[in-house]
Symmetry: C2
Subunit: 283 residues, 2 copies
């Protein structure tokens, strides 16, 4: 079909219903814009699964806490549209803020337990904003598939749980993190980094590689691995402030007392004013 | 189509998707079973709007508070199936409790403000349970239309708000309360009443008729109308305990300081151990 930009919620609902009635399957790639190769890999994966990929662009205010970077979040709608078209996604849904959250808005979706640890601990209400906007997008787009990146590993787990609990007929597909050549996980927020900070930011990736190596060398104690990761980050990134270094189960997100199979190591680090996260399966 | 009973969530999702793909429109009538003529009027209305009416039967535990009547809620699956078939609903969805709420269930939908007054004030968490189960049913059944009764007027308002805020492509239709000959609003809970209580229970309806008459006679003060309603209820139903008598706006549910257009009078009254509610548009 012809590349189509949709801004109205009703129009997108109608278009999706028409596509379903005509036998087409739909994949959705929800984004906050300022697209990088990570997003584009989701579109490509979506095209391998469904007839139509709908990319959404919406900087969702309910997932930002007061004082976070909502107002300065990077935007480039024109560049995004070009990239989305090139990648082969046929529809872009760009809803208006006042349509998505009118003044009398008051309904929220909350996954109560998986959201208490890791990102949820430092970013209160963040996941409630994420699950609410994803619920809205699911209802508008009516997708068979939804694609998310592994970089936001807890987000993927929370949305997986939300889909299962509330019974959307949508299959989630979590795609590998796409990295820069030096290992830094791609993120729209990397654009905030100064050249010096950008160099230091590779410390997150390096610390995860170190963790994986230690596990390969039969280290199983989270405390020891954490200590080595912390040392590496502090050395490689003097301007850093470590939020957390965690070892959790891939599915339940429960903290591991000993590194066993299906362990994800995840880190949150402030480099200067920029909060970065990354994770890696280490066993 | 042939009368079909579906018990599996996945089977219902698949069946609904097939119906949509084949061009059929779907209406859903969510019930907790023990059907009366009120429910059947919803099925009939649904059939006038959509090709297929899916009636759901599920006694939803999350909308009962501890100590409420969950365990003794009346059930009659065989009778219900016969009535549903007679009324012309083609599909009955009767999910299993452990499928709907497995042990690790943790996701809830909450309409935060409309739920604070009236029923929400005395039944904490009630509406969170209602909106959560309705969200689940919408995602499983994927209806074009959803039918609810006006007897649960606040419930209808809360679900209308939930649909609008979270963008389900579903149109809600609220149908008039169906009453017994003496005016008592039909309710599965009426089956709890002894013959003496059953007679006293008409006090709710009579008090609403009185309110409407007073407004017709140009009384506009809620306090005066409430006083007269209270007197009537106390006289007609000596075993009663009045929960609330409220005058609210039809849409916003805000309390009216003066009776103006679009006012709903609503009452909650315990008759013996049975909590009954009713309402009427009085202007």
């Amino acid at each position: 079909m012809r590349f189509t930009i949709v801004k109205s919620i009703k129009a997108q609902q109608k278009l999706s219903r028409q596509l379903i009635r005509s036998g087409k399957s739909i994949a959705v790639v929800p984004t906050m814009g300022f697209l990088h190769d990570g997003h584009l890999s989701l579109i490509k994966k979506g095209l391998s699964k469904a007839d139509i990929v709908i990319t959404t662009i919406f900087v969702n205010p309910t997932q930002f806490a007061p004082g976070e970077d909502l107002t300065r979040y990077p935007r480039d709608e024109k560049g995004d549209l070009e990239k989305i078209k090139q990648a082969g996604s046929q529809i872009v849904f760009i809803p208006r803020l006042t349509d998505m959250y009118p003044d009398d808005y008051e309904t929220y979706v909350d996954v109560e337990n998986l959201t208490l640890t890791l990102e949820g601990e430092s970013r209160l209400q963040h996941f409630k904003g994420v699950t609410t906007i994803v619920a809205k997008l699911f209802n508008i787009v009516q997708p068979d598939f939804a694609l998310f990146g592994m970089k936001d590993y807890q987000q993927a787990a929370v949305i997986t749980k939300m889909i299962k609990d509330l019974n959307w007929p949508t299959k989630i597909i979590v795609c590998p993190t796409v990295r820069e050549k030096d290992g830094l996980a791609m993120s729209s927020r990397n654009s905030y980094l100064t050249p010096v900070q950008r160099k230091q930011a590779t410390a997150l990736y390096q610390s995860l590689i170190l963790a994986r190596q230690m596990v390969k060398s039969d280290e199983r104690r989270p405390s020891e691995i954490r200590k080595s990761m912390r040392r590496l980050i502090k050395n490689a990134a003097p301007d850093s402030d470590i939020g957390y270094i965690a070892f959790t189960d891939l599915k339940t997100l429960e903290a591991k007392k000993e590194i066993t199979k299906n362990t994800i190591a995840s880190v949150a680090v402030n480099i200067g004013p920029v909060r970065l996260i990354d994770n890696m399966r280490i066993f």
